[in-house]
């Protein structure tokens, strides 16, 4: 056992050494996002309610004019583990939106105020309309975007990410993208007309104009009204939207781990006792 284990470790070491020697995967994403540091990272991570509420405000007042979020219902905003707005607040909010329902008894579609169970209404009736309004580009739906975006960290760092539980590639990328509009394009790099330079976007040229500027959204809780703060808050909100049970998952995970480790310990000593009369 020990012999084979030592051999296995050796083989793994050789394999890793060869990885390190080979040129790492070309990073097509361009600039690497910086780790922004999130309250929801790590084994005990949890969302910051205030941050999710602010992030939602940014989404609603800025991003929602272009981006849909059609897997989220109004009721989700008051559920445990999310922004946890009060039921009254969410009812009030929903009633400010109009949704199409029907057909009614006369066979006609009609508009009514949204209810808690309704999904967030989309800014455009369909993808074509969205593209037409954005010069051909499609603003992706927000519901899963924080899990649908990542950036490559190469073999070494990826192995480390597993051990250190770095899982926030998506929010880090979005945060970097939103704060990354003020860079100058490198000499000789030209995007098509209508595209904006952003070193964090794969290829460097993005159809989304700089979406948010300092002071654009008011914060009732006195948090700084800067692009830096807005992007953190909206990225955290998007992570919640993509993984609404993240908090429960980590909480249960901790309990499961404690249980399994104790159980393994008990089994180990039982096994040891039973095997103590057999040389092996």
């Amino acid at each position: 056992m020990t012999h084979a284990l030592v051999q296995a470790v050796k083989a793994a070491a050789v394999a890793i050494a060869v990885f390190a020697a080979t040129p790492s995967l070309a990073a097509e994403g361009g600039a690497h996002p910086e780790k922004a540091g999130w309250s929801f990272s790590g084994p005990l991570g949890h969302f910051d309610r205030g941050q999710l509420q602010r992030g939602f405000k940014v989404y609603r007042e800025v991003c929602a004019s272009c981006h849909s979020m059609n897997l989220i219902s109004f009721r989700n905003l008051m559920e445990e583990g999310g922004p946890e707005f009060s039921e009254g607040q969410v009812r009030q909010l929903a009633s400010e939106y109009k949704v199409t329902d029907g057909p009614n008894d006369a066979g006609e579609m009609f508009e009514r105020p949204a209810r808690l169970s309704d999904r967030f209404p989309s800014p455009f009736p369909n993808e074509q309309a969205a593209r037409a309004a954005q010069g051909g580009a499609y603003p992706p739906d927000f519901s899963l975007l924080a899990k649908a975006r990542t950036y490559s960290r190469g073999v070494w760092l990826s192995l480390l990410d597993l051990v250190l539980q770095y899982q926030e590639h998506g929010p880090d990328y979005i945060h970097a993208l939103l704060t990354g509009y003020d860079h100058q394009p490198p000499e000789g790099s030209h995007g098509q007309t209508g595209l904006h330079y952003n070193p964090y976007f794969p290829g460097g040229w993005i159809a989304m104009p700089k979406p948010i500027s300092d002071g654009q959204v008011e914060y009732p809780d006195g948090s700084p009204t800067t692009v830096e703060q807005y992007s953190r808050d909206v990225s955290a909100f998007m992570m919640w939207a993509a993984e609404p049970h993240l908090e429960t998952r980590k909480r249960i995970g901790f309990q499961v781990m404690v249980f399994l480790i104790i159980f393994a310990g008990l089994l180990y000593f039982t096994k040891k006792k039973v095997w103590s009369d057999v040389a092996h």
């Binding site: 056992m1 012999h3 084979a4 051999q7 296995a8 050796k10 083989a11 793994a12 050789v14 394999a15 060869v18 990885f19 080979t22 040129p23 995967l25 070309a26 097509e28 084994p43 897997l71 989700n76 992706p140 519901s143 899963l144 899990k147 649908a148 975006r149 990542t150 073999v155 990410d161 597993l162 539980q165 899982q167 590639h169 998506g170 794969p202 993509a242 609404p244 049970h245 429960t248 998952r249 980590k250 249960i252 995970g253 901790f254 499961v256 781990m257 399994l260 480790i261 159980f263 393994a264 089994l267 180990y268 039982t270 096994k271 039973v274 095997w275 057999v278 040389a279 092996h280």
Partner: protein, 426 residues
């Protein structure tokens, strides 16, 4: 499953039942009284781990199927419905998705264990070949399962892999159309993949039954590779192996739980959280990690047909392994040269995986070709020749001697060919 049982029920009801259907006796002889070599190490616990993981996959899979909709317009959202609205749906899905990866980690360790200790050699050839059948079924199941959430990688992975069949001469096009149920990967494809993904694990369960049956006919191999010769070489399955396996399974679950609860999307691909779109090809189409070495072999050959043939041969060659390896001695412990070639082979497989994940350009192509050549060289040249030229180290007379030292050679020495069901011969 080794013949007549030592099970003697005293309870009249059990007695009555046993006389009519001796299933309790079968279980008793297979999992309680079954003699297992006393010197097995933890690499031998992966069979139990695999059995448990198969159970985990089937149970989570059946419940997921209650909430999943196999339709191109609904599949993606139905998975998100599971993640968001079904009670503990996120747990079920993360267990199932990561469970597949755990299953492959365990099966690769299990197979390399077999390679190291020569477990595929006579009299265990059929046992080994059933294992390869299980492996093939697992790959088919894993591939079709990944298509079900209907994200970008689901669709494009399915397109790449099913297109391979069009390389078959003459009938290729017909076969591909037949597989698709149309002229592209579309709703009929998703429907049949769901149906098959539900079916195959039960076929795996059936073959695992045969696999364990064959195991219990020949008895287990062990780290010395020397057959069981007397009762002093073995211990009863329960409590010895049961507890050791149980401990290993719980340790494996700790590893599994790390993925489920803390890094659930680590082994997946971010693009699969984007709904499938036949009009938009992702920048890199990469299969799941467990297919990467075979994907590298596929791409190493410049012709499409050649690549497909090489890829399938890489697995088919395993069926012939018992006859390609000419060495009489089983365990690498006593094979000074094979031991090195074994570890070289392990490294080659890992590197093939790395090449499979890299873009097919420049140096990666050359290295991929060299590694592919070595993969086949290992089986077709090195193993046959090694058995003829290598001088094995002296073998212990018995397992007992290997454990306790000389002069403990066991009580009654019987020829190794009658090692099966040793409890009746001791």
């Amino acid at each position: 499953m080794s013949g007549h049982s030592t099970y003697n029920p005293q309870n009249p009801v059990l007695k009555w039942f046993e006389a009519r259907l001796p299933i309790v006796g079968l279980i008793h002889s297979s999992f309680v009284a079954y003699p297992t070599p006393r010197n097995l190490n933890y690499w031998w616990t992966f069979g139990a781990i695999l059995s448990v993981m198969l159970g985990v996959q089937i149970i989570t899979g059946v419940v997921l199927a209650m909430h999943y909709t196999p339709h191109v317009d609904l599949a993606f959202n139905s998975v998100e419905h599971i993640m968001r609205d079904v009670n503990y749906g996120w747990l079920l899905r993360y267990m199932h998705a990561n469970g597949a990866s755990m299953f492959f980690i365990a099966v690769y360790i299990h197979m390399f264990r077999g390679l190291y200790y020569g477990s595929y050699k006579a009299p265990r050839e059929v046992l080994w070949m059933l294992g390869v059948v299980i492996f093939l079924l697992m790959m088919a199941t894993g591939f079709m399962g990944y298509v079900l959430p209907w994200g970008q990688m689901s669709l494009w992975g399915a397109i790449v892999i099913t297109n391979l069949f069009s390389a078959i001469p003459i009938v290729g096009e017909y076969v591909t159309t037949w597989l698709w149920g149309g002229f592209s990967v579309d709703n009929p494809t998703l429907n049949r993949f769901f149906s098959l993904h539900y079916l195959l694990p039960f076929m795996i369960a059936g073959v695992v039954g045969l696999h364990i049956w064959a195991l219990h006919v020949t008895g287990q191999n062990n780290p010395t590779g020397v057959e069981v010769k007397s009762t002093s070489d073995t211990v009863a399955f329960t409590p010895y192996a049961t507890l050791k396996d149980g401990f290993a399974v719980v340790c494996f679950f700790i590893f599994f739980a790390w993925f489920i609860f803390y890094t659930p999307n680590y082994l997946g691909h971010a693009d699969n959280y984007i709904r499938a779109n036949p009009l938009q090809t992702p920048a890199h189409i990469v299969p799941e990690w467990y297919f990467l070495p075979f994907y590298a072999i596929l791409r190493a050959i410049p012709s499409k047909l050649g690549g497909v043939v090489a890829m399938f041969s890489a697995i088919i060659v395993l069926f012939f392994l018992p006859w390609l390896d000419t060495a009489k001695v089983r365990s690498a412990k006593y094979r000074p040269l094979y031991r090195y070639f074994f570890w070289i082979f392990v490294v080659v497989c890992i590197l093939l995986g790395y090449i499979g994940a890299s873009p097919p350009e420049g140096l990666y192509i050359t290295v991929g070709r060299l590694l592919t050549a070595y993969y086949f060289l290992h089986f077709l040249v090195i193993l046959p020749v090694l058995g003829l030229v290598e001088k094995p180290l002296p073998l212990p007379a018995s397992i007992t001697e290997a454990v306790l030292g000389p002069n403990h050679g066991g009580v009654s020495v019987v020829p190794s060919s009658s090692a099966a069901a040793p409890e009746r011969r001791a």
